[in-house]
């Protein structure tokens, strides 16, 4: 039986402590802190350029933060990168698997990199789950955007990750496939108790997938809570309206919207 303890009392899987990142004197991520718990899915929301991808890059060790710390599974990322990455995975619309290999070959290679036991079975299972078994022998570079997104997602699930970071995983999917993909993400989250960090510009996605969201505005966390709570707390009718007013004014709940520094 699954316990009904609140998510926030569970083990912390990922923690950002005052992450700050500047590029050429411009701060694009400003003292960003949060905790992500086992089995929880957290959405990062914010306008284009708000700092979502930068935050993920810092959390994955692709970019070194200017200051602040990242801890995953209780361990500092800097000194335990490999151990952490073994239990983590990532998929983004903006990376691709090598287009010149077959789907199956790509998944085989990554199964090897992640040390997946019985890769053939694992790959078959994932292709089934994502309903892309028919793409198995196709050349990856010839797939449509939506098809390759799902192949990337299969790669992201290969190692049965405890922590999954997804940067706009539904960006190029048609509504039907997007719905299926959300369901898959929800299923693995529930069944495998995966902690998920998720970005999307589709509020439907966020409401369906995320237990909690954080709004970033110019690199700062300006609003946090369960999607329904945030809508209730604000005077807006939907998460989409909340998004728009944060993107334009930087705030939505407090009476006095803060003026961004500099």
């Amino acid at each position: 039986m699954r316990s009904i303890e609140p998510l926030s009392s569970r083990e912390v899987i990922l923690e950002a402590r005052s992450l700050t990142r500047a590029f050429g004197g411009i701060t694009v991520l400003d003292a960003f802190s949060f905790r992500l718990h086992r089995g929880e899915s957290l959405g990062l929301l914010g306008a284009n350029g708000a700092g979502k991808t930068t935050a993920m890059n810092c959390l994955l060790g692709l970019t070194t933060p200017s200051s602040g710390d990242v801890l995953a599974f209780g361990l500092p990322l800097g000194s335990h990168r490999i151990g952490i990455l073994r239990r983590t995975n990532f998929s983004s619309t903006y990376t691709a698997l090598p287009g010149n290999l077959l789907v199956e070959q790509n998944l085989r290679v990554f199964a090897g990199l992640y040390g997946v036991p019985d890769p053939a079975r694992r790959i078959t299972g994932l292709l089934d789950l994502l309903e892309i078994s028919h793409l198995r022998r196709r050349v990856t570079g010839e797939l449509s955007a939506g098809e390759s997104t799902r192949v990337s997602l299969a790669k992201a699930l290969l190692n049965d990750p405890e922590l999954l970071m997804l940067d706009e995983p539904t960006a190029s999917l048609d509504p039907d496939i997007a719905d299926k993909v959300r369901r898959v993400i929800r299923t693995v989250q529930r069944e495998r108790q995966v902690a998920i960090l998720y970005t999307s510009h589709n509020m439907r996605d966020i409401e369906e997938v995320c237990d909690r969201v954080i709004f970033l505005h110019r690199g700062r966390a300006v609003c946090e809570g369960a999607p329904a709570d945030i809508v209730a707390r604000s005077s807006r009718r939907s998460l989409e309206e909340v998004f728009i007013s944060i993107a334009r004014d930087g705030n939505v709940i407090d009476a006095s919207p803060e003026v961004p520094a500099s």
Binding site: N57, L62, T95, P98, L101, Q105, L113, K155
Partner: protein, 265 residues
């Protein structure tokens, strides 16, 4: 270092050759062109010089073959890395539990396989076409080959570091790295025939004692052990320096956020 990780990275490259055998042509094309040109030059010199010198001048073909070992090793390392850049796969690799040393080991293995293929073809063609038997180098061939491969790897690491830091802006420069060194490496002439200012520089390059040794062997059947010792020692130093450079560049690239914005330079 986890061997299965290295194996998976090597397998990725082998899939490429399996899917597109056309890639093999590139492995053979330039080496054969080089071989034919230098082979014909050798024939020309042989016909117009004393019999003694004519026998000796065969070293030009040997030099060409050994130079290709070095050049191919450098290229093999760089090309495996560029393959990940071209296919936008770099981020997937960097978020996978792959240590830098494992990644480098895989590129070395690919480099090694590529040279063996090229070397075999060149050896056979030079034997049939020009009567140069690479086996005349006897067992000396093994340490020569090994040292040139090690040096090629070190240069490959330098090229890769250049790509990593400056991206496409330095692509042609990075390919040319071995050719900056070629004039100093005593490939086709002896160190003592170089202008005096070049000679000390020549002895700082691990390939120099190999090519000097090759000429000794072709002439006398023996190379001095001190030449080989020098080559190994210099290679150890170069590999260490190249490794430090690579680690340093990786650090800079992470700090500047260049990994995720690769084509911006």
């Amino acid at each position: 270092m986890t061997l299965s990780v290295v194996g998976a990275l090597v397998r990725r490259q082998l899939y490429l050759y399996q899917r597109t055998p056309m890639r093999l042509v590139e492995l053979m094309f330039w080496p054969l062109v080089d071989l034919i040109i230098w082979g014909n030059v050798t024939v020309f010199i042989q016909r117009n010089s004393s019999a003694d010198f004519g026998a000796y001048v065969l070293f030009l073909i040997g030099a060409m073959i050994l130079w290709d070992v070095l050049f191919r090793a450098q290229q093999g390392v760089s090309i495996s890395f560029l393959e990940d850049v071209w296919t936008r796969n770099l981020l997937n690799i960097f978020v996978a539990p792959v240590r830098t040393i494992e990644y480098l080991a895989a590129t070395y293995a690919i480099g090694g396989l590529r040279i063996i293929a090229t070397f075999l073809v060149m050896s056979v063609v030079s034997r049939i076409g020009y009567g140069f038997n690479v086996l005349a180098l006897d067992w000396w061939l093994v340490p020569f080959f090994l040292n040139l491969m090690l040096f090629g790897w070190a240069l490959g690491m330098v090229s890769t570091a250049l790509f990593l830091r400056w991206g496409q802006a330095v692509e042609s420069l990075a390919w040319a790295v071995p050719f900056f060194i070629q004039p100093f490496a005593a490939v086709f002439y002896r160190v003592e025939d170089m202008p005096s200012w070049m000679q000390p520089l020549a002895w700082c390059i691990p390939a120099t004692p190999v090519f000097e040794g090759m000429r000794q062997v072709l002439q006398t059947g023996q190379a001095s052990a001190s030449l080989l010792a020098l080559a190994f020692a210099l290679n150890a130093l170069y590999l260490l320096m190249a490794g430090l450079l690579f680690a340093r560049v990786l650090h800079v690239v992470r700090t500047r956020g260049l990994l995720t914005k690769f084509a911006t330079q």
